[in-house]
């Protein structure tokens, strides 16, 4: 990260205060690498975050302009910001799974419906970890957490035939992908495609939480244990994968630049109203 960090990140914020061994740094690095490989400058990107581990650790790390919203609301803020900013400004959001797929899901779906140009990177630590380790909307069934001491009994968004990306596709998202933080350049390539799509893009990136998830679910805080568990549970989108639970990875849907983008559409619409009625 050193070269990239010096170039793009604020020295006061790096290294971040994430627990040692946390996979969040890998996600963060991939996003910055994608920005770098696209040749974007600091002034080209406005970086937004939510709260939780992902929001807190990535807020204000970007050397350029930053904002953070309360839990789940950053998509609604971005809808307004998108209207105000020039179309070529990239808005990249690093948020958590509770933020995107729980409390903020209504906003997220409506941003997909409107096709608001933003790149949402969902940094998924498989539950609510910054509050100490409660189950969330991507926690596999049966997993023990502080709020599922007998094993998680809730249906979630990412297993047993359900995939949250299906819902987002139906809602109107134009680029969707999933990669774990352990994957390499293919994840960076997906993030690059997401940033280049002028429309709503989301990359779902599960990553290992060593402190809470690994401890309760796997009985060990040794990074190796959860990294191995991640590898065993990762497969391609079409693969059969393990029976109990899988992170299905790859580019899920790419309809980049095929649907009109929200702010562009409104701008043209307003210009047309002005032409016809003034």
């Amino acid at each position: 990260m050193d070269y990239l960090a010096t170039k793009y990140l604020r020295p006061r914020k790096i290294p971040s205060t994430a627990c040692s061994g946390c996979g969040l740094g890998q996600v963060h690095k991939k996003v910055v690498k994608a920005i770098d490989e696209l040749g974007l400058e600091i002034g080209d990107v406005v970086w937004g975050t939510g709260i939780g581990c992902a929001g807190r650790q990535t807020f204000n790390t970007w050397k350029g302009d930053n904002f953070a919203g309360t839990h789940g609301r950053v998509y609604a803020i971005t809808t307004g910001l998108r209207l105000a900013l020039p179309p070529d400004k990239k808005i990249i959001l690093t948020v958590g799974d509770g933020d995107a797929f729980g409390i903020g899901f209504l906003h997220l779906l409506n941003c997909a419906r409107r096709n608001v140009d933003m790149t949402v990177i969902v940094c998924d630590n498989l539950g609510y970890q910054s509050t100490g380790g409660q189950y969330g909307w991507t926690t596999p069934r049966g997993i023990h957490t502080d709020s599922s001491p007998y094993g998680n009994y809730e249906n979630n968004w990412t297993s047993e035939g359900r995939d949250v990306l299906n819902i987002l596709r139906e809602a109107g998202a134009t680029f969707l992908a999933r990669h774990t933080s352990l994957q390499g350049q293919e994840a960076v390539e997906s993030i690059k495609k997401a940033i280049l799509n002028r429309g709503f893009s989301l990359v779902h990136m599960p990553y290992p939480c060593v402190t809470n998830f690994a401890d309760r679910a796997l009985g060990s805080r040794k990074p190796l244990v959860i990294y191995k568990w991640f590898e065993e549970h990762t497969c391609g989108l079409k693969d059969k994968g393990p029976d109990d639970f899988a992170f299905r990875t790859g580019i899920y849907y790419d309809a980049s630049n095929t649907r009109p983008e929200f702010s562009e559409y409104i701008r043209n619409f307003v210009a047309e109203v002005q032409r016809r009625y003034n």
Binding site: G43, N60, K63, A68, G69, G80, L81, A84, Q274, N278
Partner: protein
């Protein structure tokens, strides 16, 4: 000058447009819906954007995002929507986002009656979000023309104080039809005593000075100034912090930038209060019009009564309650919200009484009966919750 006959909703729309509003996001709710409809028609004509949000949380957050990007923004709602603004309102207050929020108060609690006026959000407008450590600026028009000027002023104060400004109207003001004069040139705007300032942009990464200073441009993203703002307690540069020292500085700023410049905000009207009246009626919004008529009429009959009509509600204008007298708070609610603030503000030896109506205005006759009774010390027949000696 364009002269027309229209509603308070239309007046608020035109006021916003004159003030430079370029973004309205709202969620339909009676009786504020018409403001949204008017904005959806008017904004595109002047190159602005109307967004119909999926809920109130979105509405105010979209306004925050637009304002963060440099657009002047406004939203409008009624009680059940206003309470949902509690979440984004904290963000806007804490991050010092200039915008305007209209609340056309209706009868509550909860959904109550959609098309009847109420005044139940007086305190909610003072404390519209969690966490405390802030002051709000709240203005309350009592006519269609004033709904227009108050809106222009709200945008002006929002820019100068770098914060959301609330217009606390009521259904009779927003739905009522009256004559309306709309200025069309900068000279006409100035002649009306109205001021418009453009959005300025904060240069450099510094988010705030830990002082009570006003007229500091707000943070605007997208200009690559390294600007940062968030819902967390900020350092002066905008970094999130867990240090209590910074919390003190931030709270000081949010509270005292308003308190120490109260003279720029406070607006009221007074009637017959210079000759030490025995009884002073106090009201804001639409009931103040009945109060003023009743007091004028009572004076003609030789009763020594006066009236105070509040236009700015918060910060509360304690200093205008100068005379030691009996006070009567007239409100569109039954629980007496304004009455508590009056009690706190009046000089020692004063008495404070309350008369509440809900869903409809009090009548001049009702107020006359009360004034007579209070001046003569006559017992008044109990009228349930409408009348109470505090």
């Amino acid at each position: 000058m364009r002269k027309t006959l229209d509603t308070g909703n239309a007046a608020i729309t035109e006021g916003a447009i004159i003030a430079g509003c370029k973004l309205f996001a709202g969620y339909p709710i009676t009786p504020a819906t018409e403001i949204a409809e008017n904005m959806s028609r008017r904004l595109p004509q002047i190159g602005g954007y109307y967004v119909q949000a999926e809920d109130e949380l979105t509405a105010l957050h979209v306004c925050i995002g637009g304002s963060l990007g440099g657009l002047k923004a406004m939203t409008a709602t009624s009680g059940p929507g206003f309470i949902l603004y509690a979440d984004p309102m904290g963000w806007a207050l804490g991050s010092e986002i200039p915008l305007v929020v209209v609340n056309a108060q209706r009868v509550g609690p909860v959904s109550g009656i959609t098309g009847a006026p109420g005044q139940g959000e007086f305190y909610l407008s003072r404390y519209p979000t969690q966490g405390g450590n802030y002051e709000t600026i709240v203005l309350a028009p009592n006519s269609v023309q004033e709904a227009f000027s108050t809106t222009v002023e709200a945008f002006y104060l929002a820019e100068r104080f770098r914060m959301p400004v609330i217009i606390l109207a009521d259904q009779l003001v927003t739905d009522g039809w009256e004559s309306l004069s709309i200025p069309e040139t900068p000279e006409e705007i100035e002649a009306m005593g109205l001021k418009v300032i453009p959005r300025r942009i904060k240069e450099g990464p510094e988010f705030y000075p830990a002082t009570d200073e006003i007229d500091i441009p707000p943070v605007v993203l997208g200009h690559n100034t390294g600007a940062a703002c968030s819902d967390w307690t900020p350092t002066p540069e905008g970094y999130d912090t867990e240090e209590v020292d910074f919390q003190h500085k931030h709270a000081y700023r949010l509270i005292y930038k308003v308190r120490n410049h109260k003279d720029l905000i406070t607006r009221y009207e007074s009637y017959f209060v210079d000759d030490n009246p025995e009884l002073v009626l106090v009201a804001y919004g639409s009931p103040s019009r009945v109060v003023i008529s009743a007091v004028k009429q009572a004076r003609e009959q030789g009763l020594k009564v006066g009236a105070l009509r509040l236009i700015s509600l918060w910060p509360f204008p304690d200093e205008i309650f100068k005379v030691q007298a009996k006070y009567l708070s007239v409100e569109l609610n039954y629980d007496g919200q304004l009455v508590r603030e009056i009690q706190r503000a009046v000089p020692k030896g004063s008495e404070v009484h309350f008369f509440g109506k809900c869903g409809e205005l009090p009548t001049v006759a009702e107020l006359e009966e009360l004034m007579q009774a209070l001046l003569t010390g006559k017992e008044i027949q109990a009228r349930n919750w409408e009348w109470e000696a505090w």
